[in-house]
């Protein structure tokens, strides 16, 4: 095992996961415990807990607000997020012993096509460009890169699935084995680790912060 394999395949996975969880934890804790005396309710709001859950489910599953107001963006971001969900779904089933290659391929394809689409939607209109910092484009590029590396890996340098699964399981069981020998696999691993460290410190954390914008601010009745 060379140095790169050791670092990216054995050390960094743990550091990345730890930083991922800890940073998210710190953020959540900060938002949950910050005092918020200024009331700024927004009506209408769900009348009770059940209403809140219903609203949230609808919003999370269908991207309701975008769906109603911004079809062009909705299509792109909804399918993009579906792509992420597919990858996560694939990963879980893969570790559990299923080989749902089609899910992986679809997920990767989504991660290329739809962020690319969003990238150009953002670039194409002055109105969108005006409110975008380079960061917005960069965030999309990370996904595109993951998608492309994944497709390359499957097409040109496909490691033995059993070996890959063994490797993931070894990580999970805290007995890390050497990663499969493939520079593309290693690059993909590296970029995923970067993503995990970066994610909690980026606006992509909106999947969590969004909970607070509603529950702690808009839905706080007087």
């Amino acid at each position: 095992m060379n140095v790169a394999s050791f670092l990216i395949g054995i050390v960094l996975p743990y550091i990345a996961v730890a930083l991922f969880l800890v940073s998210i934890g710190i953020r959540i804790n900060r938002w949950a415990t910050s005092p918020h005396p200024l009331k700024w309710s927004l009506y209408p709001m769900p009348a009770d807990y059940t209403g809140q859950i219903k609203f949230m489910l609808k919003e999370i599953l269908s991207f309701r607000a975008l769906l109603h107001n911004n079809r062009k963006l909705w299509a792109g971001s909804w399918l993009f997020h579906i792509g992420m969900a597919l990858i996560i779904l694939w990963f879980i089933t893969f570790v559990l012993g299923l080989h749902a290659g089609i899910v992986l391929r679809a997920g990767l394809a989504f991660l290329i096509v739809f962020p690319l689409y969003l990238f150009f939607v953002r670039l194409a209109s002055t109105k969108m460009r005006t409110i975008s910092s380079p960061l917005e484009y960069f965030n999309l590029l990370i996904f595109i890169a993951i998608g492309i590396l994944g497709i390359l890996l499957l097409s040109f340098n496909k490691p033995d699935p059993t070996a890959v699964r063994q490797y993931f399981i070894s990580l999970i069981l805290l007995h890390p084995a050497a990663p499969p020998e493939s520079s593309i696999f290693l690059s993909m691993l590296a970029i995923t680790e970067f993503f995990m460290i970066y994610f909690p410190n980026s606006r992509m954390l909106h999947m969590i912060s969004k909970y607070f914008t509603y529950h702690k601010i808009s839905w706080e009745s007087h």
């Binding site: 209408p44 919003e59 607000a65 975008l66 107001n69 910092s133 917005e136 960069f138 606006r203 909106h206």
Partner: protein
């Protein structure tokens, strides 16, 4: 007596000094020109460091730390807010894009208060603050009418109007608020005691006059009770109503009497207006505490606020923050709707035959959820009611929100840009009367109607009750 809120901002004090005190400082220097609106005694030097220091204080302040941190990190830059904004839909100007406006503050936040911004600069949207930026912020933050229509449909739950308020509070600390806010608030807090500078004697005369007027118009003897210690309700209206909205006040007094309310007006403090909502926490707190002091003085049980959106919202939402909350606060829409429902007030809709429509004031609707009570009142008082389209939480701002209606320099802006969506809505309704239970909205709507020659009469909700009440 209520305790004054111990709030650091109060000590800092961003009230305008009286004109004479500051003359020496500004005489010699080249004066900056503020084209968007007149500013009294603006800060002329060191604006950038003062801005950053003020923002630092705001961030440290418990009131805003969470809000800024959360909102400025959550926005997905999707521009859905722009599609909701009445102003952007009319102007299509960069400075009216809600997210662009918020980014002005976000850039400063990132540059001076986050590690990533210090290290990565423009890449993460951070930008060093320049003189021009401050002027652009003044204009942009005041073009936003804080109506919150954008917040309703933000997929991230971000409220750009709150960012506008925070931005305005920062520039307000630099004495860069419109002269009309600062001078009126000075009069309210330290001068005559109200934003229209109506002396107590004149105010009492007005109450007498209104009583006589009701007698002449309807034949009923209706009282405007004053300083009745121990009454259930302290009634307080925006003081400008006593100059401009006599019908609203008469209708309200008649309704309260018909409902058998135990109410009083305080002649010690009779102005519900609180411009603090639009630019300053200090002013918000001081005005609220004056209101509370009057309620304590008269030993009332509740506070009843007249037809005014921002005053009701400020009192209902901020009294816990800035004052000591002892009194339940109600808006007169809630009171009257309840009285009608309970049968304590009876109305004859036959007297109001013309078609009436209803405008949801942003602060009563989106801000407090008072959507149905005014509708129930209007429907009970008139024969033909039509909705504006869209309505309720999707209603368009009158175009004079965020206090802009009090700023004469913004007249053209309000008539030709901010109010255009409203004009279209009113035209499409075909109504003869437009009822709006808010002093700000009424003034703006009346000006719009005159300017655009719309065939509509703007009234308050209680105006409709003067003839409809069965007494």
């Amino acid at each position: 007596m209520p305790q004054t809120a111990k709030n650091e901002n109060i000590e800092k004090g961003n009230m305008q000094k009286q004109p004479s005190e500051n003359v020496k400082n500004t005489e010699k220097k080249q004066k900056r020109n503020y084209p968007f609106f007149a500013i009294e005694n603006p800060i002329e030097e060191n604006r950038i460091p003062v801005f950053i220091k003020t923002m630092e204080a705001v961030l440290k302040d418990d009131k805003y730390r969470l809000l800024l941190d959360l909102y400025l990190n959550t926005c997905a830059s999707c521009n859905s807010c722009a599609d909701q904004c009445h102003l952007y839909q009319t102007t299509h100007e960069e400075k009216d894009l809600p997210a662009y406006r918020s980014n002005m503050l976000r850039a400063v936040y990132r540059k001076y208060f986050t590690t990533s911004g210090k290290l990565l600069g423009g890449f993460v949207g951070a930008k060093a603050l320049k003189e021009d930026d401050i002027d652009n912020m003044i204009e942009s933050f005041y073009r936003c009418t804080m109506c919150r229509r954008c917040a309703v449909e933000c997929p991230m739950g971000v409220d750009n109007a709150l960012i506008t308020r925070i931005g305005r509070c920062v520039i307000g600390e630099l004495n860069l608020a419109p002269k009309n806010f600062t001078v009126s608030s000075y009069q309210q807090l330290y001068g005559v005691g109200n934003t229209s500078s109506i002396p107590k004697e004149a105010f009492i005369d007005t109450l007498d006059f209104l009583q006589d007027e009701i007698k002449d118009m309807t034949g009923h003897s209706v009282e405007f009770p004053r300083d009745k210690v121990g009454a259930e309700y302290l009634f307080i209206a925006p003081v400008s109503d006593y100059i401009m909205e006599a019908d609203t006040l008469m209708g309200t007094a008649m309704t309260l009497q018909a409902a058998g309310a135990d109410w009083t007006i305080g002649t010690g403090y009779y102005d519900a207006i609180n411009y603090g909502l639009f630019y300053s926490d200090t002013v918000t707190a001081d005005a609220l505490n004056k209101l509370l002091a009057e309620a304590y003085r008269l030993k009332v049980k509740k506070i009843l606020i007249g037809e005014c959106g921002h005053a009701t919202k400020t009192a209902k939402l901020f009294v816990d923050v800035f004052g000591k909350h002892q009194f339940p606060i109600q808006n007169v829409m809630e009171y009257t709707a309840e009285a009608i429902k309970k049968g304590r007030v009876k109305l004859n809709p036959e007297v109001n035959q013309e078609t009436v429509t209803y405008h949801d004031p942003c602060n009563l609707g989106r801000g407090l959820g008072i959507y149905e009570p005014p509708r129930n009142i209007v429907k009970a008082a008139v024969k033909h009611f039509v909705e504006l389209q869209p309505n309720r939480e999707k209603n368009y701002c009158c175009g004079g929100g965020g206090g802009s209606v009090t700023v004469p320099d913004m007249y053209n802006f309000r008539m030709n840009l901010a109010g255009i969506k409203k004009v279209e809505q009113i035209k499409a309704s075909g109504a003869k009367y437009l009822a709006a239970p808010c002093a700000n909205c009424k003034k703006q709507l009346k000006e719009l109607v005159e300017y655009h020659k719309l065939p509509v009469t703007v009234v308050g909700v209680h105006d409709l009750l003067i003839r409809a009440l069965l007494m």
